[in-house]
Symmetry: C2
Subunit: 190 residues, 2 copies
Protein backbone atom coordinates (compact mmCIF):
# COMPACT_ATOMS: atom_id res chain seq x y z
CA UNK A 1 0.00 0.00 0.00
CA UNK A 2 1.92 2.96 -1.35
CA UNK A 3 0.18 5.60 0.78
CA UNK A 4 1.16 3.70 3.94
CA UNK A 5 4.79 3.34 2.83
CA UNK A 6 4.95 7.07 2.16
CA UNK A 7 3.62 7.87 5.64
CA UNK A 8 6.09 5.43 7.21
CA UNK A 9 8.97 7.10 5.34
CA UNK A 10 7.82 10.58 6.32
CA UNK A 11 6.79 9.98 9.94
CA UNK A 12 8.35 6.71 11.12
CA UNK A 13 11.27 6.92 13.53
CA UNK A 14 13.83 4.15 13.89
CA UNK A 15 15.00 3.51 17.44
CA UNK A 16 17.75 1.21 18.73
CA UNK A 17 16.74 -2.46 18.91
CA UNK A 18 15.03 -2.61 15.51
CA UNK A 19 12.09 -0.59 16.79
CA UNK A 20 10.07 1.42 14.29
CA UNK A 21 8.06 4.11 16.04
CA UNK A 22 4.88 4.97 14.14
CA UNK A 23 2.96 6.57 16.97
CA UNK A 24 2.09 9.68 14.96
CA UNK A 25 -0.50 7.82 12.86
CA UNK A 26 -0.96 4.24 14.12
CA UNK A 27 -0.52 3.46 17.78
CA UNK A 28 -0.79 6.59 19.91
CA UNK A 29 -1.99 9.30 17.57
CA UNK A 30 -4.20 7.77 14.87
CA UNK A 31 -4.92 9.04 11.35
CA UNK A 32 -8.57 7.97 10.93
CA UNK A 33 -8.69 8.48 7.15
CA UNK A 34 -5.59 6.35 6.66
CA UNK A 35 -7.15 3.69 8.92
CA UNK A 36 -10.32 3.84 6.80
CA UNK A 37 -8.36 3.19 3.61
CA UNK A 38 -6.41 0.42 5.36
CA UNK A 39 -9.73 -1.18 6.32
CA UNK A 40 -10.98 -0.93 2.74
CA UNK A 41 -7.76 -2.51 1.43
CA UNK A 42 -8.07 -5.49 3.80
CA UNK A 43 -11.78 -5.86 2.97
CA UNK A 44 -11.07 -5.89 -0.77
CA UNK A 45 -8.28 -8.47 -0.49
CA UNK A 46 -10.17 -10.84 1.82
CA UNK A 47 -13.60 -10.50 0.20
CA UNK A 48 -15.66 -13.52 -0.91
CA UNK A 49 -14.16 -15.74 1.80
CA UNK A 50 -17.29 -15.80 3.94
CA UNK A 51 -15.64 -13.93 6.79
CA UNK A 52 -18.02 -13.46 9.74
CA UNK A 53 -15.83 -11.66 12.24
CA UNK A 54 -12.65 -9.59 12.60
CA UNK A 55 -10.36 -10.47 15.52
CA UNK A 56 -7.65 -8.27 16.99
CA UNK A 57 -5.88 -7.44 20.27
CA UNK A 58 -6.23 -4.26 22.30
CA UNK A 59 -5.17 -1.49 22.00
CA UNK A 60 -3.32 -0.68 18.75
CA UNK A 61 -5.15 -3.29 16.69
CA UNK A 62 -8.56 -1.76 17.33
CA UNK A 63 -8.43 1.17 14.88
CA UNK A 64 -7.44 -0.83 11.75
CA UNK A 65 -9.70 -3.73 12.83
CA UNK A 66 -12.81 -1.60 13.34
CA UNK A 67 -12.33 0.04 9.92
CA UNK A 68 -11.96 -3.41 8.34
CA UNK A 69 -15.14 -4.55 10.10
CA UNK A 70 -16.91 -1.44 8.83
CA UNK A 71 -15.86 -2.15 5.24
CA UNK A 72 -16.72 -5.89 5.48
CA UNK A 73 -19.94 -5.29 7.45
CA UNK A 74 -19.02 -7.79 10.18
CA UNK A 75 -18.47 -7.42 13.94
CA UNK A 76 -15.01 -6.92 15.45
CA UNK A 77 -13.84 -8.66 18.62
CA UNK A 78 -10.76 -7.40 20.41
CA UNK A 79 -8.93 -9.71 22.80
CA UNK A 80 -8.31 -8.15 26.16
CA UNK A 81 -4.90 -8.22 27.80
CA UNK A 82 -4.31 -9.37 31.34
CA UNK A 83 -1.12 -9.55 33.40
CA UNK A 84 -2.17 -12.88 34.82
CA UNK A 85 -3.64 -15.95 33.18
CA UNK A 86 -7.41 -15.71 33.00
CA UNK A 87 -8.84 -19.15 33.72
CA UNK A 88 -12.60 -18.97 33.55
CA UNK A 89 -15.13 -21.26 31.97
CA UNK A 90 -16.47 -18.52 29.76
CA UNK A 91 -13.24 -17.33 28.11
CA UNK A 92 -10.61 -18.60 25.68
CA UNK A 93 -7.14 -17.41 26.61
CA UNK A 94 -3.56 -17.57 25.37
CA UNK A 95 -0.14 -16.50 26.57
CA UNK A 96 1.62 -13.86 24.47
CA UNK A 97 5.27 -13.13 25.11
CA UNK A 98 6.23 -9.49 24.54
CA UNK A 99 9.79 -9.20 23.21
CA UNK A 100 9.57 -5.43 23.63
CA UNK A 101 8.49 -5.57 27.26
CA UNK A 102 10.29 -8.83 28.10
CA UNK A 103 7.40 -10.47 29.87
CA UNK A 104 4.39 -12.61 29.03
CA UNK A 105 0.94 -11.10 28.70
CA UNK A 106 -2.24 -13.09 28.56
CA UNK A 107 -5.04 -12.34 26.17
CA UNK A 108 -8.60 -13.58 26.32
CA UNK A 109 -11.89 -13.51 24.47
CA UNK A 110 -15.29 -14.42 25.90
CA UNK A 111 -16.52 -17.66 24.40
CA UNK A 112 -19.89 -16.19 23.45
CA UNK A 113 -18.19 -14.00 20.83
CA UNK A 114 -16.37 -16.77 18.91
CA UNK A 115 -17.86 -20.09 17.81
CA UNK A 116 -17.30 -22.92 15.35
CA UNK A 117 -19.63 -21.12 12.94
CA UNK A 118 -17.18 -18.24 12.61
CA UNK A 119 -14.71 -17.59 9.80
CA UNK A 120 -12.36 -15.00 11.18
CA UNK A 121 -9.98 -12.42 9.76
CA UNK A 122 -7.17 -11.61 12.18
CA UNK A 123 -5.99 -7.98 11.99
CA UNK A 124 -3.03 -6.47 13.82
CA UNK A 125 -0.91 -3.36 13.59
CA UNK A 126 2.50 -5.09 13.66
CA UNK A 127 3.94 -8.49 12.80
CA UNK A 128 7.48 -9.18 14.01
CA UNK A 129 7.94 -12.39 15.98
CA UNK A 130 4.25 -13.10 15.56
CA UNK A 131 3.48 -13.70 19.22
CA UNK A 132 0.20 -11.73 19.31
CA UNK A 133 -1.01 -13.33 16.07
CA UNK A 134 -0.15 -16.81 17.35
CA UNK A 135 -2.13 -16.04 20.50
CA UNK A 136 -5.19 -15.10 18.43
CA UNK A 137 -4.76 -18.25 16.32
CA UNK A 138 -4.65 -20.36 19.49
CA UNK A 139 -7.88 -18.72 20.68
CA UNK A 140 -9.61 -19.18 17.29
CA UNK A 141 -8.49 -22.83 17.24
CA UNK A 142 -9.86 -23.37 20.76
CA UNK A 143 -13.23 -22.08 19.51
CA UNK A 144 -13.00 -24.30 16.40
CA UNK A 145 -13.40 -21.15 14.30
CA UNK A 146 -11.90 -21.11 10.79
CA UNK A 147 -9.10 -18.63 10.15
CA UNK A 148 -9.71 -17.22 6.67
CA UNK A 149 -6.84 -14.76 6.66
CA UNK A 150 -4.42 -12.54 8.54
CA UNK A 151 -4.09 -8.83 7.74
CA UNK A 152 -1.10 -6.90 9.08
CA UNK A 153 -0.49 -3.18 8.76
CA UNK A 154 3.32 -3.31 9.10
CA UNK A 155 5.41 -6.50 8.89
CA UNK A 156 9.10 -6.68 9.72
CA UNK A 157 10.20 -9.39 7.31
CA UNK A 158 13.62 -9.63 8.98
CA UNK A 159 11.89 -11.15 12.00
CA UNK A 160 10.44 -14.66 11.77
CA UNK A 161 6.68 -14.22 12.40
CA UNK A 162 5.51 -13.70 8.82
CA UNK A 163 7.53 -16.59 7.38
CA UNK A 164 6.28 -18.89 10.13
CA UNK A 165 2.63 -18.01 9.46
CA UNK A 166 2.99 -18.47 5.68
CA UNK A 167 4.78 -21.80 6.22
CA UNK A 168 1.77 -22.88 8.28
CA UNK A 169 -0.44 -22.16 5.26
CA UNK A 170 -2.14 -18.97 6.46
CA UNK A 171 -3.21 -16.36 3.92
CA UNK A 172 -1.25 -13.32 5.16
CA UNK A 173 -1.48 -9.82 3.69
CA UNK A 174 0.92 -7.19 5.02
CA UNK A 175 0.32 -3.68 3.75
CA UNK A 176 3.93 -2.62 4.28
CA UNK A 177 6.85 -5.04 4.54
CA UNK A 178 10.03 -3.75 6.10
CA UNK A 179 13.16 -5.67 5.15
CA UNK A 180 15.59 -3.77 7.33
CA UNK A 181 15.95 -0.96 9.84
CA UNK A 182 19.75 -0.96 9.76
CA UNK A 183 21.58 2.38 10.01
CA UNK A 184 18.31 3.97 11.16
CA UNK A 185 16.95 3.62 7.62
CA UNK A 186 13.60 2.09 6.73
CA UNK A 187 14.20 -0.31 3.82
CA UNK A 188 11.06 -1.86 2.36
CA UNK A 189 10.97 -5.39 0.94
CA UNK A 190 10.82 -5.53 -2.90
Amino acid sequence: MEELKTVIKEQGKVLPGNILKVNSFLNHQIDPKLMYRIGQTFAEYFKNLGITKVLTVEASGIAPAVMTGLAMEVPVVFARKSKSLVVKNDVYSAEVYSYTKKFPNHIYIEKQFLTSDDKVLIIDDFLANGEATKGLIKIADAANADIAGIGIVIEKTFQPGGQYLRDQGYNVLSLAQIASLENNQVKFAN
Copy 2:
Protein backbone atom coordinates in the same frame (compact mmCIF):
# COMPACT_ATOMS: atom_id res chain seq x y z
CA MET B 1 -29.62 8.49 20.12
CA GLU B 2 -32.55 6.13 19.72
CA GLU B 3 -30.65 3.41 17.87
CA LEU B 4 -28.15 3.19 20.72
CA LYS B 5 -30.89 3.01 23.36
CA THR B 6 -32.54 0.18 21.45
CA VAL B 7 -29.29 -1.79 21.29
CA ILE B 8 -28.68 -1.21 25.03
CA LYS B 9 -32.19 -2.49 25.80
CA GLU B 10 -31.76 -5.54 23.59
CA GLN B 11 -28.18 -6.50 24.39
CA GLY B 12 -27.17 -4.80 27.65
CA LYS B 13 -26.89 -6.95 30.75
CA VAL B 14 -27.20 -5.52 34.25
CA LEU B 15 -24.83 -7.05 36.80
CA PRO B 16 -24.65 -6.52 40.57
CA GLY B 17 -22.93 -3.29 41.61
CA ASN B 18 -24.67 -1.04 39.05
CA ILE B 19 -22.65 -2.53 36.23
CA LEU B 20 -24.09 -2.41 32.72
CA LYS B 21 -22.37 -4.92 30.49
CA VAL B 22 -22.40 -3.83 26.86
CA ASN B 23 -19.57 -5.98 25.61
CA SER B 24 -21.56 -7.36 22.67
CA PHE B 25 -21.31 -4.07 20.74
CA LEU B 26 -19.07 -1.58 22.56
CA ASN B 27 -16.17 -2.81 24.65
CA HIS B 28 -15.22 -6.38 23.71
CA GLN B 29 -17.17 -7.17 20.58
CA ILE B 30 -17.71 -3.98 18.56
CA ASP B 31 -20.46 -3.13 16.08
CA PRO B 32 -18.52 -1.01 13.54
CA LYS B 33 -21.61 0.41 11.79
CA LEU B 34 -23.07 1.56 15.11
CA MET B 35 -19.69 3.11 15.99
CA TYR B 36 -19.71 4.89 12.61
CA ARG B 37 -23.12 6.42 13.29
CA ILE B 38 -22.01 7.34 16.83
CA GLY B 39 -19.01 9.13 15.31
CA GLN B 40 -21.24 11.00 12.87
CA THR B 41 -23.57 12.03 15.71
CA PHE B 42 -20.71 13.47 17.78
CA ALA B 43 -19.26 15.20 14.70
CA GLU B 44 -22.60 16.82 13.90
CA TYR B 45 -23.16 18.05 17.47
CA PHE B 46 -19.64 19.43 17.97
CA LYS B 47 -19.17 20.90 14.47
CA ASN B 48 -18.09 24.51 13.87
CA LEU B 49 -16.13 24.64 17.14
CA GLY B 50 -12.73 24.50 15.48
CA ILE B 51 -11.87 21.13 16.95
CA THR B 52 -8.38 19.98 15.92
CA LYS B 53 -8.09 16.68 17.74
CA VAL B 54 -10.09 13.91 19.39
CA LEU B 55 -8.77 12.60 22.71
CA THR B 56 -9.67 9.29 24.35
CA VAL B 57 -8.25 6.53 26.56
CA GLU B 58 -7.34 3.00 25.51
CA ALA B 59 -8.93 0.55 24.89
CA SER B 60 -12.73 0.92 24.77
CA GLY B 61 -12.67 4.59 23.82
CA ILE B 62 -10.73 3.97 20.61
CA ALA B 63 -13.58 2.68 18.39
CA PRO B 64 -16.02 5.58 18.98
CA ALA B 65 -13.14 8.10 18.97
CA VAL B 66 -11.65 6.96 15.68
CA MET B 67 -15.08 7.10 14.01
CA THR B 68 -15.55 10.62 15.38
CA GLY B 69 -12.13 11.61 14.06
CA LEU B 70 -13.06 10.14 10.67
CA ALA B 71 -16.27 12.18 10.53
CA MET B 72 -14.56 15.38 11.74
CA GLU B 73 -11.44 14.84 9.63
CA VAL B 74 -9.08 15.36 12.57
CA PRO B 75 -6.48 13.08 14.22
CA VAL B 76 -7.29 10.97 17.28
CA VAL B 77 -4.93 10.56 20.23
CA PHE B 78 -5.53 7.80 22.74
CA ALA B 79 -3.97 8.05 26.18
CA ARG B 80 -2.08 4.94 27.15
CA LYS B 81 -2.60 3.26 30.50
CA SER B 82 0.20 2.33 32.84
CA LYS B 83 0.18 0.56 36.20
CA SER B 84 2.80 2.94 37.50
CA LEU B 85 3.15 6.67 37.21
CA VAL B 86 4.96 7.63 34.03
CA VAL B 87 7.28 10.52 34.82
CA LYS B 88 9.13 11.52 31.70
CA ASN B 89 9.89 14.90 30.22
CA ASP B 90 8.09 14.10 27.02
CA VAL B 91 4.70 13.00 28.41
CA TYR B 92 1.70 14.50 30.20
CA SER B 93 0.23 12.08 32.73
CA ALA B 94 -2.64 11.81 35.20
CA GLU B 95 -3.84 9.38 37.83
CA VAL B 96 -7.20 7.71 37.17
CA TYR B 97 -8.88 5.77 39.95
CA SER B 98 -10.86 2.78 38.74
CA TYR B 99 -13.93 2.15 40.91
CA THR B 100 -14.54 -1.10 39.05
CA LYS B 101 -11.04 -2.45 39.60
CA LYS B 102 -10.44 -0.67 42.93
CA PHE B 103 -7.00 0.66 42.11
CA PRO B 104 -5.44 3.68 40.45
CA ASN B 105 -4.26 3.56 36.86
CA HIS B 106 -2.10 6.16 35.24
CA ILE B 107 -2.67 7.50 31.77
CA TYR B 108 -0.30 9.45 29.61
CA ILE B 109 0.01 11.20 26.27
CA GLU B 110 3.22 12.20 24.55
CA LYS B 111 3.62 15.97 24.59
CA GLN B 112 4.28 16.16 20.84
CA PHE B 113 0.66 15.15 20.17
CA LEU B 114 -1.06 17.83 22.24
CA THR B 115 -0.22 21.54 22.25
CA SER B 116 -1.69 24.91 23.15
CA ASP B 117 -2.83 25.23 19.52
CA ASP B 118 -5.23 22.32 19.96
CA LYS B 119 -8.98 22.47 20.56
CA VAL B 120 -9.88 18.99 21.70
CA LEU B 121 -13.00 16.88 21.82
CA ILE B 122 -12.82 14.25 24.56
CA ILE B 123 -14.62 11.00 23.67
CA ASP B 124 -15.19 8.02 25.96
CA ASP B 125 -17.39 4.95 26.06
CA PHE B 126 -18.69 5.42 29.64
CA LEU B 127 -19.20 8.25 32.09
CA ALA B 128 -19.97 7.24 35.68
CA ASN B 129 -17.76 8.84 38.32
CA GLY B 130 -15.89 10.65 35.58
CA GLU B 131 -12.42 9.60 36.61
CA ALA B 132 -11.12 8.84 33.11
CA THR B 133 -12.58 12.07 31.71
CA LYS B 134 -11.06 14.09 34.55
CA GLY B 135 -7.70 12.48 33.78
CA LEU B 136 -7.96 13.57 30.14
CA ILE B 137 -8.98 17.09 31.22
CA LYS B 138 -5.94 17.27 33.48
CA ILE B 139 -3.71 16.24 30.57
CA ALA B 140 -5.33 18.74 28.18
CA ASP B 141 -4.95 21.48 30.81
CA ALA B 142 -1.27 20.61 31.26
CA ALA B 143 -0.80 21.08 27.52
CA ASN B 144 -2.78 24.37 27.61
CA ALA B 145 -5.10 22.88 25.01
CA ASP B 146 -8.72 24.11 24.85
CA ILE B 147 -11.43 21.59 25.67
CA ALA B 148 -14.26 22.26 23.20
CA GLY B 149 -16.49 19.43 24.29
CA ILE B 150 -16.94 16.00 25.84
CA GLY B 151 -18.79 13.22 24.01
CA ILE B 152 -19.89 10.15 25.95
CA VAL B 153 -21.51 7.03 24.52
CA ILE B 154 -23.25 5.91 27.75
CA GLU B 155 -23.66 8.08 30.85
CA LYS B 156 -24.93 6.80 34.18
CA THR B 157 -26.70 9.90 35.46
CA PHE B 158 -27.16 8.33 38.91
CA GLN B 159 -23.39 8.61 39.40
CA PRO B 160 -21.81 12.04 39.84
CA GLY B 161 -19.42 12.41 36.89
CA GLY B 162 -21.77 14.05 34.39
CA GLN B 163 -23.18 16.58 36.85
CA TYR B 164 -19.67 17.50 37.98
CA LEU B 165 -18.49 18.13 34.41
CA ARG B 166 -21.57 20.23 33.52
CA ASP B 167 -21.16 22.23 36.75
CA GLN B 168 -17.61 22.98 35.65
CA GLY B 169 -19.01 24.45 32.43
CA TYR B 170 -18.04 21.72 29.99
CA ASN B 171 -20.19 21.06 26.93
CA VAL B 172 -21.11 17.40 27.48
CA LEU B 173 -23.14 15.27 25.06
CA SER B 174 -24.12 11.79 26.21
CA LEU B 175 -25.79 9.64 23.54
CA ALA B 176 -27.61 7.50 26.10
CA GLN B 177 -28.31 8.56 29.68
CA ILE B 178 -29.15 5.85 32.16
CA ALA B 179 -31.05 7.03 35.23
CA SER B 180 -31.16 3.71 37.05
CA LEU B 181 -30.14 0.07 36.89
CA GLU B 182 -32.25 -0.94 39.88
CA ASN B 183 -33.97 -4.32 39.83
CA ASN B 184 -31.74 -5.31 36.91
CA GLN B 185 -33.70 -2.94 34.67
CA VAL B 186 -32.20 -0.31 32.42
CA LYS B 187 -34.14 2.91 32.95
CA PHE B 188 -33.18 5.79 30.67
CA ALA B 189 -33.27 9.43 31.80
CA ASN B 190 -36.15 11.51 30.42
